[in-house]
């Protein structure tokens, strides 16, 4: 078993409910995210798993009419407290999106953007070091080292997604949120990203939303199953997939609905 106990808690959600105007999207979600660990959120479309993910770095703030109740702690501090600055929060909790979305800038500038706005490098050499290091960590360095100044959008889909991962780890976040990062990619690119996630968990806490139960089983140590805005079951991935306690979880993982 891969669970060192007692597990260090990185994030904790307490009774989180989300409303989009009149409709409630999430009901009383309480979940603990262990540090340096991959947590997978699974469930059918529209179950609220992406909504929950976006609460963790307050990306829901930009959605008009979205209200979040409850509390989410990052290292014991409520990220919805009035004193918390979303800019600082998002520097600590990075995000990778469903569709690769590199900036229409060079590969170098894509990765250098975060360090630049957060003033992480004093000299050009320092900045270059961060960029190279991030590209290496994202497993993209060998493929792009000769063309750092070509447009990021000229890369293939899988390379673009790894560029986006390099871009988010360039600012050394503590947590990386991944919203179905492989759903737009082919199986080979998907395998590369999954390998990368496995490497990254040594240093980062990763929360991944996925449609693919196989992916959740392959990359995660903890899995939470969401259904109709409620979290039905959470547990160690191997237990949840082999011996689910709830019959709805069983129904979903055996493919009876989805």
């Amino acid at each position: 078993m891969l669970h060192p106990s007692p597990m260090e808690k990185k994030m904790e959600a307490h009774a989180v409910s989300v409303f989009y105007g009149q409709t409630q999207a999430l009901y009383d979600i309480s979940l603990t995210i262990p540090a340096r660990h991959v947590t997978a959120l699974i469930g059918p479309s529209g179950c609220g798993k992406s909504t929950f993910l976006r609460c963790l770095n307050r990306m829901n703030d930009v959605v008009e009419g979205c209200v979040v109740r409850g509390s989410i702690l990052l290292d014991g501090q409520n990220i919805y407290a009035p004193s918390v600055d979303t800019v600082m929060l998002r520097a600590r909790v990075g995000m990778v999106f469903q569709k690769p979305n590199p900036f229409p800038k060079s590969i170098f500038d894509n990765v250098a953007y975060g360090p630049r706005i957060h003033g992480m490098a004093k000299t050009k050499a320092e900045l270059e070091e961060i960029v190279v290091e991030s590209l290496k960590k994202a497993g993209l360095w060998q493929e792009v080292k000769d063309r750092l100044h070509t447009e990021g959008t000229s890369l293939s889909g899988g390379q673009q997604q790894r560029l986006c991962i390099a871009r988010s780890i360039a600012i050394s976040p503590e947590v990386i949120l991944m919203d179905e990062p492989c759903s737009a990619l082919d199986p080979i690119a998907t395998a590369k990203i999954e390998e990368l996630i496995d490497d990254l968990k040594a240093n980062y806490t990763i929360i991944i939303v996925t449609h693919s139960m196989q992916q959740a089983a392959r990359v995660s140590q903890t899995t939470a199953f969401f259904h109709l805005g409620k979290m039905i079951e959470v547990g160690p991935t191997d237990v949840l997939f082999t011996n689910p306690k709830n019959e709805r979880t069983q129904g979903y993982i055996t493919g009876r609905f989805g």
């Binding site: 770095n57 990306m59 930009v62 008009e64 800019v87 600082m88 929060l89 998002r90 520097a91 990075g94 995000m95 999106f97 569709k99 690769p100 979305n101 590199p102 900036f103 229409p104 953007y113 975060g114 706005i117 957060h118 447009e151 990021g152 959008t153 889909g157 673009q160 986006c164 871009r167 988010s168 600012i171």
Partner: protein, 397 residues
């Protein structure tokens, strides 16, 4: 099984063919209309770019010329023709009002042959051989004699590009009107661009959806549809009567034109900003960029080609604007190039309007010539907009 030989099958293909033919017919009609317009303007306007003059070699100029320059011109021509002429007036009226000063200038610096510009009536007869010309029979004979002696030359009419307005059609030029247009357009751009772009940025990026924002947006769209002459009236009462700015000047003209393009500019900029996909905005925010960093590091830079295209097209739009400028007095008779935005000026389309009202036949070709120049400028601006749009088209992953 679908019966492929049924009636609806044939009817579908028949409709397809009819639709295609109607569409091709429409395109053909549009192209034909355009060609007719161009041919008509070019056939009328080519004459504005060439002019006829009489060139007399230095050895053919008699000594002891009369002291009056006009009399001297007559003396030179009569001695060259070596036939007595009935009326000196007939001779002098064949030449431009400028011929006297051309002779004086040549006498000061006698280099090459003496070149005397012909009057507009003589010029028109040489270009078009009109039968109903105001030239008398004697004048036509003199002109013919000069022609057979081989001293009538056709030259490129540079005066058209270097002179200002004049009472004499053979001496008019578009230079001061062109400079007036340039100053007016520059004033309009400097006034409208920052206001328009900042308005669009605020409305699309910062303003929360509210009844107020909707109201502003609807009214900006309505303003874009307001006839330009209304803006001319507004300019007259606001800038000239209330603020006391000098009338007939590029300052007032530019301010009025700025009001006209402001809504178009806001709409074009808004469209350019909105074309930046949400995913890019999300990417910037998720990197910890603040709202203003997101807007000014990403959204605005990526929409600059769109904003530039919109600006160039709105500049092209006001380059041809005439009516509002008439109201604020830019219809003045302007000979000199305006020295600044607070001096009286006119613009190219207004100059065209002024010339089109002149009774002399020669002004018709000057009008068409100026229209050609205006069209060339519009073509250049539109081509620039298209090139910008193609060269900087963004691909979003």
């Amino acid at each position: 099984m679908i019966d492929h030989k049924n009636r609806s099958f044939y009817r579908r293909h028949w409709r397809d063919r009819v639709f295609r033919r109607v569409a091709v017919g429409c395109v053909g009609f549009a192209v034909l209309a355009l060609l007719t317009l161009l041919t008509s303007i070019i056939s009328q306007g080519w004459g504005a770019f060439v002019s006829y003059s009489v060139e007399i070699q230095a050895q053919d100029i008699p000594p002891n010329l009369p002291s009056s320059d006009r009399a001297a011109v007559v003396a030179i021509i009569t001695s060259f023709l070596q036939t007595p002429v009935a009326s000196k007036q007939d001779v002098i009226r064949l030449f431009s009002a400028d011929a006297g000063s051309q002779l004086v200038a040549w006498l000061k610096q006698p280099q090459g042959p003496l070149r005397l510009t012909l009057s507009d009536d003589a010029d028109m007869v040489l270009k078009h051989s009109y039968q109903d010309s105001p030239l008398k029979a004697e004048q036509r004979k003199i002109l013919n004699d000069l022609k057979t002696l081989g001293v009538v030359r056709r030259n490129v009419h540079f005066t058209f590009f270097t002179a200002g307005d004049s009472r004499e059609p053979e001496l008019v030029g578009i230079y001061s009107a062109l400079m007036g247009s340039l100053l007016t357009l520059a004033t309009a751009f400097v006034m409208a661009f920052p206001i328009g772009v900042m308005t669009a940025i605020y409305l699309t990026e910062y303003a929360k959806p509210s009844a107020w924002r909707t109201w502003v947006e609807i009214n900006i769209n309505n303003l874009a549809a307001v006839p330009s002459i209304v803006f001319g009236l507004l300019g007259l009462s606001l800038f000239i009567q209330f603020l006391g700015w000098p009338r007939s000047t590029p300052l007032v003209g530019g301010a009025v034109l700025a009001l006209i393009i402001l809504p178009t500019l806001v709409i074009a900029t808004t469209a350019a900003l909105k074309s930046v996909p949400t995913s890019i905005r999300m990417a910037a925010l998720a990197m910890g960029a603040s709202k203003t960093q997101m807007v000014f590091h990403h959204v605005v830079p990526y929409s600059i080609p769109g904003i530039m295209t919109g600006s160039i097209l709105s500049m092209a739009h006001i380059l041809g604007e005439t009516a509002p400028l008439l109201l604020i007095g830019m219809v003045a008779f302007i000979v000199d190039v305006p020295g600044g935005i607070t001096e009286a000026a006119t613009t190219l389309p207004v100059q065209i309007f002024l010339w089109s009202e002149s009774p002399e036949r020669a002004f018709a070709e000057k009008t068409a010539g100026a229209i050609l120049v205006l069209l060339v400028f519009l073509l250049i601006m539109n081509a620039l907009a298209i090139i910008l749009r193609h060269r900087h088209q963004k691909t979003w992953s």
